[in-house]
């Protein structure tokens, strides 16, 4: 092998290693960019609509294709012999010996000095090992790409689980389709009710396998709203029953019915009223023969209609001291049946809600990133008494509820844990501590009015006010601010101490002195 061949062989091997290193570096760099883009894409994906995501995905695919082409082009570029020589010279501190040799070879210099240089370079090349000149190394970008890949996997999993809250969990959950269908089955035999229909539609959306996360979230919100509306309506029904019971208490004939209504035995109360009707020998109701249970086909009245009807019934019952009005009894019976329907609907919906919550709780607790596990416990569908009233130990911490607890006169031990802290409860708020302090702004406003009256009075008497006597120069300089300050305290030039009356200063000082008086006590 002649000198040229020896040098060229070394340079070729060095160039190959350079190319490998460069390719791995470029691929690592490209992978970093691609993974970073994917990560960003995955993070913003749940925020945007499917259409936006589709467009973004197409653009990102295009950009990634371009990146792949660029990376491939850069990675597959061959390393020139001169580059290999430069790398070898730098690594082995050859002071440009191989570079000069490569140049002489490329130029075909046949001078004696050039040949001598080649022979010396060839001798040097024989002593060099390409693996020591250019060691194959894993680029740092590859490590970074690996890290990004791990982050992407974790993020992808977390985002998937978070987006499955409520909706997407149902089809893919423990019982999947069957669970969703059983939830809907609970609503099958419900009477015609717009709220039940609303919930059913939401469940129908949620049970679909191809539902998008946005649609699932909307359906979940819809379901929540339907549940809340049913609850509100049931509260209205119970209040209506209470009002009817109150109205019936005055008449000994209805005493038992009123007691039954108070104790929640609605069906019993309705039966008693029916007995009273029969005892009085009144004609059967137009819908006679249909029990509350049979009134499935009949729709549930709206809250407003029900409330109005109950109001009328209660009023009429109050007037039934002498005789019993058939129409009134029918109306009361109808109201009781309606209330019963509303309460039934609530129970049905609550059952659905409970199952859904149980279901979601299972999936939420699997994900450490979701906060819905707190929401699930903060508003329990089937509350049980806490062993330690006032604080409930939860996953991830203790929620102290003392701030929300307000003692009421009629609080009972049986309600302990259930009603304590309920914002909608009827407990009175605890009184404020400390001395009542009048608002500073009000004080100043009042003082301003007093001041203005006094100034007007003084002006009328031709005297200057005793607390403020500006000089001629001060008057000339602060006239505008002073005029403004007469009307509103806020408009006064408060930076000029002369313009703040002594009494107003005193008020401010007194306010801040007494502000924390109660704390001192």
């Amino acid at each position: 092998m002649n000198n040229q061949a020896i040098i060229q062989d070394l340079l070729r091997r060095v160039a190959t290693r350079l190319r490998i290193n460069r390719a791995s570096r470029e691929v690592g760099f490209g992978a970093c960019i691609a993974l970073f883009a994917l990560l960003a894409f995955r993070l913003v994906q749940p925020v945007f609509s499917a259409a936006t995501i589709g467009i973004a995905a197409a653009a990102a695919s295009l950009a990634l294709s371009g990146l792949v082409v660029l990376v491939l082009w850069r990675a597959t570029r061959p390393a020139t012999p001169m580059q290999a020589a430069g790398a070898a010279d730098a690594k082995a501190d050859l002071k440009d010996e191989l570079k000069s040799a490569a140049w002489i070879i490329s130029e075909g210099d046949a001078s004696t000095f050039a040949q001598l240089q080649l022979s010396r370079a060839a001798r040097r090349a024989e002593q060099l090992a390409p693996r020591t000149l250019v060691p194959l190394a894993v680029p740092r970008s590859a490590g970074l790409a690996l890290l990004l890949a791990l982050v992407f996997l974790v993020t992808d999993r977390s985002v998937s689980m978070a987006s499955r809250d409520w909706a997407s969990v149902l089809p893919a959950g423990i019982e999947g389709q069957a669970e969703a269908e059983s939830l809907r089955a609970l609503l099958d035999d419900a009477p015609p009710d717009p709220l039940i229909e609303r919930l059913d539609q939401a469940l129908a959306v949620l049970e679909r396998r191809d539902v998008t996360s946005e649609a699932a979230q909307r359906a979940a919100i819809e379901a929540r709203e339907a549940v809340d509306a049913t609850d509100m309506r049931a509260i209205e029904a119970r209040e209506g029953l209470n009002r009817l019971a109150e109205a019936m208490k005055g008449d000994p004939r209805y005493e038992a019915v009123a007691r039954a209504l108070e104790q929640g035995r609605t069906e019993e109360a309705a039966a008693m009223l029916e007995d009273i009707r029969q005892e009085l020998g009144l004609a059967p109701r137009p819908d006679e023969g249909t029990t509350p249970g049979d009134a499935v086909a009949e729709g549930v009245r709206s809250e407003q209609e029900f409330s109005k009807a109950v109001e009328e019934s209660a009023r009429e019952l109050g007037n039934l001291s002498a005789s019993v009005n058939e129409e009134t009894l029918n109306s009361v019976l109808k109201n009781i049946e309606d209330a019963q329907k509303m309460i039934d609907a609530q129970n049905r919906v609550r059952e659905v809600n409970r199952r859904m919550n149980d279901f979601l709780a299972a999936s939420s607790q699997r994900s450490p990133l979701t906060a819905s596990r707190f929401g699930n416990q903060a508003n329990p569908s089937n509350p049980t008494a806490s062993p330690q009233t006032g604080s409930t130990t939860m996953q991830g911490g203790t929620m102290f509820r003392q701030g929300a607890v307000a003692r009421g006169d009629d609080d009972q031990a049986s309600n302990e844990g259930n009603k304590a802290g309920a914002a909608s409860g009827h407990s009175a708020a605890a009184p404020l501590e400390g001395a009542a302090t009048e608002r500073l702004e009000a004080k100043l406003q009042r003082e301003n009015i007093r001041l203005r009256e006094q100034v007007e009075q003084d002006d009328a008497q031709g005297e200057k006010s005793w607390f403020y006597s500006p000089t001629e120069a001060g008057q000339a300089q602060t006239a505008i601010a002073g005029v403004r300050g007469r009307d509103t305290y806020a408009g006064a030039d408060v930076m000029s101490p002369e313009l703040i009356p002594m009494r107003q200063r005193g008020l401010v000082k007194e306010y801040f002195t007494n502000l924390h008086e109660s704390e001192k006590r």
Partner: protein
């Protein structure tokens, strides 16, 4: 064939080393100055030496001339020195038969090594006579051109302190010098050695170790060294970085430099680098060789502007920054 060249290179190195050793017997320190003067001699250039009086400028040149067996002459430049005093003049000579004829009387420039001491004290006209001879390697007088004996090597000195009554060399004439070297004041240890050597009964003497013909051979050898194109590009980049109007100019160049290096500067870089490569037993020029001669080759070719003069910016500082800034070629 390679053996012959190998021997030439070996001879080059050994002769260079002999001269250096002989000079070091007289001259204390300043090894880099000695190397650069030798480099200049072998690169067929001339040297401008700058230093305060008494640091051994003249002694250095005399010692070199003694060590190299060259004809040496010294010209002390004064304001009344005329060109004829340097190059010679035609005189009328009468022979035995009474016939009278003009005969050219050779001036002190007809030597192998000329010391032009305090060159900036002579008038520009006289300076031009010397500088023209340096460039042309010949002298014209009375319509006749007289070739100068080779090697012809001029070492001009100038004092940077005493500027009164001097005629500073124009930039174009400064460019004729391959290198501009600075002799610094010696340190305490070196001063001790100088005193030991020069204040006793017998001063050391120099042996002649290099013949005239050998110097010419060494010059030929140096010229034969190949320079790879990337290395040559590196030298060009350095030179271009000294041009304020160049896109490759350094930021300090743009701020402080009025004119950058001429093409002669790049020639000086390459020629000096070739000698340096041989001194280091290499048959190729490296970027390191270029860097090692960059300061002496370019410092007198970088002309500073008024701002730089006002801020006392040294051309060496700018060049050092340029050398750090210009990257070595990767391929």
């Amino acid at each position: 064939m390679n053996t012959v060249v190998e021997r030439q290179i070996e001879d080059f190195r050994s002769r260079f080393q002999h001269v250096r050793d002989e000079i070091s017997r007289i001259i204390v320190g300043n090894d880099d100055v000695v190397d650069n003067v030798m480099t200049c001699l072998l690169a067929r250039g001339h040297v401008l030496l700058e230093g305060i009086p008494g640091v051994g400028k003249t002694k250095l040149v005399q010692t070199m001339a003694d060590a190299m067996h060259l004809k040496f002459s010294r010209i002390q430049f004064t304001p009344d020195l005329m060109p004829g005093d340097i190059i010679g003049t035609n005189i009328v000579r009468e022979d035995e038969s009474g016939h009278k004829a003009f005969e050219f009387q050779h001036g002190p420039i007809f030597a192998n090594m000329v010391l032009a001491d305090e060159i900036n004290r002579a008038t520009p006209k006289t300076q031009s006579a010397l500088l023209e001879a340096m460039q042309e390697n010949s002298v014209s007088a009375g319509g006749t051109t007289h070739a100068l004996d080779q090697p012809f090597f001029v070492l001009a000195t100038q004092n940077p302190i005493e500027m009164e009554g001097t005629y500073p060399l124009p930039e174009a004439q400064m460019d004729r010098f391959l290198f501009k070297l600075r002799l610094d004041f010696p340190g305490a240890a070196e001063l001790n050695t100088i005193l030991d050597r020069t204040t006793r009964q017998k001063e050391p003497t120099v042996n002649r170790v290099l013949e005239q013909q050998q110097i010419l051979e060494m010059r030929d050898t140096a010229r034969g060294i190949p320079v790879a194109r990337p290395v040559q590009d590196y030298a060009i980049k350095i030179a271009l970085a000294t041009h304020p109007e160049s896109p490759d100019a350094h930021e300090l160049t743009k701020k402080y430099v009025r004119f950058g290096s001429s093409p002669r500067g790049i020639q000086a870089l390459i020629l000096g680098a070739k000698v340096r490569a041989l001194m280091n037993d290499r048959v190729h020029v490296s970027c390191e060789d270029i860097r090692s001669v960059a300061l002496p080759a370019l410092r007198h070719r970088v002309l500073l502007n008024f701002e730089a003069e006002a801020e006392r910016v040294d051309p060496d500082h700018i060049l050092e920054r340029i050398l750090q800034w210009v990257p070595e070629p990767k391929e």
